[in-house]
C-alpha cells in the first residue's frame, strides 16, 4: 500500500482524513498512484491532472522523501520508501496566491 497525503481542498472533496493508502497494481509510479486514487475516489478525477491530456495540473506538486518529484516522468519509479509505505507521497497545492 502506498500512503498519500492530499491537500485540504481535495480531502474535503473526497471526504477523507489526512492520509489515505491506495493499492497500486504494477510498478509504483506517479501515474499508478493517481490511477489508484481516481479509481478509489472518482471525485478526484480531473483534479490532479488534466482529464484530456493527463498532464499534471500546473499548480499541483508531488513531493516525497523531501524531494520535489513534480517534474519526474509519470512512469518513473517512486522512491523505495514510498513504494514500501514507509514515507508518504504528498500531493500539494502550489503556493501561488490566495
Amino acid at each position: 500500500m502506498i500512503r498519500v497525503v492530499l491537500p485540504a481542498h481535495l480531502r474535503t472533496l473526497a471526504q477523507l482524513d489526512r492520509e489515505v493508502s491506495v493499492e497500486v497494481i504494477g510498478p509504483p509510479t506517479q501515474r499508478a498512484v493517481i490511477d489508484a486514487l481516481e479509481s478509489t475516489y472518482p471525485v478526484l478525477r480531473g483534479t490532479l491532472r488534466d482529464p484530456t491530456t493527463q498532464k499534471r495540473r500546473p499548480f499541483v506538486r508531488f513531493f516525497a522523501c523531501e524531494d520535489d518529484l513534480s517534474h519526474e516522468p509519470p512512469d518513473a519509479l517512486l522512491p523505495e520508501a514510498v513504494a514500501k509505505g514507509v514515507e508518504p507521497f504528498f500531493v500539494v497545492g502550489a503556493m501561488a496566491g490566495g
Binding site: L13, V43, G46, T47, P51, F59, A96
Partner: protein, 371 residues
C-alpha cells in the same frame, strides 16, 4: 407563504440566502465549497430543489456540483468537458492563433422543462449540454464550428461563453453571448448557429460594425416577449425587437454606458435595470456612488435608484452574472458586488438594503421564487 432563495457564487465559495415573501429577514447558509471559486449557481425552473453549481480553482480544475434539496446538500457530478473533434484555434490577445483550451464553466442554464437537462457555457468559449443531471457533458459544437470561431478573441476576463437564454416560446431557439465574439442564435436546439450582431458598433475592433468580434457583456429577455432582447455591451446598452436580427442603442441619458449586468422586471417587459460602471479601465461606479439605473420605457430614459445604496466612496464592481429578479407580485431585484455585498430591493428598485455585507467578491447572483 411564498419565499425566495438567492443563490450567490463568490470567489471563495457559494452562499444560499433565503427569506419569506416579505424579504426583510434572511437566513444565510454557507460557505459551501469554501475556498473554491463559484462562478455560477442556478436552480432548475422545472424542479426548484434541483440546483447546479460551477466550482473551480486554478489549482484543481473544474467540478460541477448538484443539489437535490435546494442547496442544503451537494454531490459532485461529471466534470469532463471535452471539445468535440479537432479543436482548432482562436485568436490570442496578440492576434496569433491559439489552441482552444478548456478553463472553466462560467454559466449553467438548466432547461425550462427538464431538471436533468442543463447547458454550460465555458471558457474557452463553447457550449455543452448534459441530459443526465450533470453526470456527462457533450459539446454543441455547431457554435464553435459555425465558421467564425478562428477569429474569436478573448476579452480581458478570458474568452468566455457567459450568457445562455432559452426561448420559453420556442424550445428550439437558444441565444448565447461570448466575450469577445458577440451574440449568437440557434433555431434548431443548438445544432447550428449564426451570429446576431447587426447594429452593434465597437470602437475597439478593426471593423467597428463587424459580424463578430464584439465584447457583449450580458443579454436579458423578458419571458413574455422573447423576441425583445436587451444587451449590456462593453460600451453601449442595446436593444433588439426582432430576436437579435438587428440592434439599436438605448443608452440614452445614462451617466456612462459601460457596465456588465442587465436585467428585466419580472412583470413589466419595458422596465430594464443596469448598473453603470465608469469605464473599461476603471471598473467602479462613477463618482463613488453605487446607483442602479431603471428605465420604464424600454431604454433611453433612465432614472437613478439610490435609496439604501452607498452614495459616497463606493468603488465596487457588479459583474455580468450578478443581478437577478424574483417573480413575486412586487418584483424583487438583487445584485452582488465585488466588495461582497448582496443588495435586495423588494419594491422593484425604489429602495435597497443589504442582505449581507461581507462575503467574498460576488461573481453571480440568481434568484428562485418559491411556492
Amino acid at each position: 407563504m411564498s419565499g425566495v432563495r438567492v443563490l450567490v457564487g463568490t470567489r471563495k465559495g457559494a452562499f444560499v440566502l433565503t427569506s419569506d415573501g416579505k424579504r426583510r429577514d434572511w437566513d444565510i447558509s454557507g460557505p459551501h465549497f469554501g475556498g473554491w471559486e463559484i462562478y455560477h449557481v442556478k436552480g432548475s425552473p422545472a424542479e426548484p430543489d434541483r440546483v447546479y453549481a460551477s466550482q473551480s480553482t486554478g489549482w484543481f480544475g473544474q467540478l460541477i456540483q448538484r443539489s437535490d434539496d435546494g442547496g442544503a446538500t451537494w454531490q459532485p457530478v461529471g466534470n469532463q468537458f471535452q471539445y468535440d473533434g479537432v479543436t482548432g484555434t482562436h485568436q490570442w490577445y496578440d492576434g496569433t492563433p491559439h489552441p482552444w483550451e478548456f478553463a472553466r464553466v462560467w454559466h449553467l442554464e438548466p432547461s425550462l422543462t427538464d431538471p436533468d437537462t442543463v447547458l454550460a457555457g465555458v471558457e474557452d468559449a463553447g457550449l455543452f449540454r448534459s441530459a443526465d443531471g450533470g453526470q456527462s457533458w457533450s459539446e454543441l459544437s455547431g457554435l464553435r464550428g459555425h465558421g467564425s470561431g478562428p477569429s474569436w478573441q478573448p476579452g480581458a476576463g478570458g474568452m468566455c461563453l457567459h450568457t445562455i437564454i432559452c426561448d420559453p416560446s420556442d424550445p428550439e431557439r437558444i441565444f448565447v453571448a461570448i466575450s469577445a465574439a458577440g451574440a449568437f442564435r440557434s433555431d434548431d436546439g443548438g445544432t447550428t448557429w449564426r451570429p446576431v450582431n447587426r447594429g452593434l458598433h465597437s470602437e475597439g475592433i478593426p471593423d467597428e460594425d463587424a459580424e463578430v468580434g464584439h465584447c457583449v457583456h450580458r443579454l436579458a429577455m423578458h419571458p413574455s416577449r422573447p423576441h425583445v432582447l436587451y444587451m449590456q455591451k462593453h460600451w453601449d446598452v442595446m436593444r433588439s425587437d426582432d430576436a437579435g436580427e438587428s440592434w439599436y442603442e438605448i443608452s440614452g441619458d445614462l451617466p456612462t454606458d459601460f457596465g456588465f449586468a442587465i436585467d428585466v422586471h419580472a412583470h413589466e417587459p419595458e422596465t430594464v435595470y443596469v448598473v453603470p460602471i465608469k469605464s473599461d479601465s476603471e471598473h467602479f461606479p462613477p463618482d463613488g456612488k453605487l446607483r442602479v439605473y431603471r428605465s420604464r420605457t424600454g431604454g433611453n430614459e433612465w432614472e437613478a435608484l439610490t435609496e439604501g445604496l452607498p452614495q459616497a466612496n463606493c468603488y465596487v464592481n457588479v459583474l455580468r452574472d450578478a443581478m437577478a429578479v424574483d417573480t413575486l407580485d412586487s418584483c424583487g431585484v438583487y445584485f452582488g458586488t465585488t466588495g461582497g455585498q448582496v443588495y435586495a430591493s423588494a419594491d422593484a428598485g425604489d429602495s435597497w438594503a443589504p442582505i449581507v455585507r461581507d462575503l467574498p467578491a460576488v461573481l453571480s447572483v440568481e434568484v428562485q421564487t418559491l411556492p
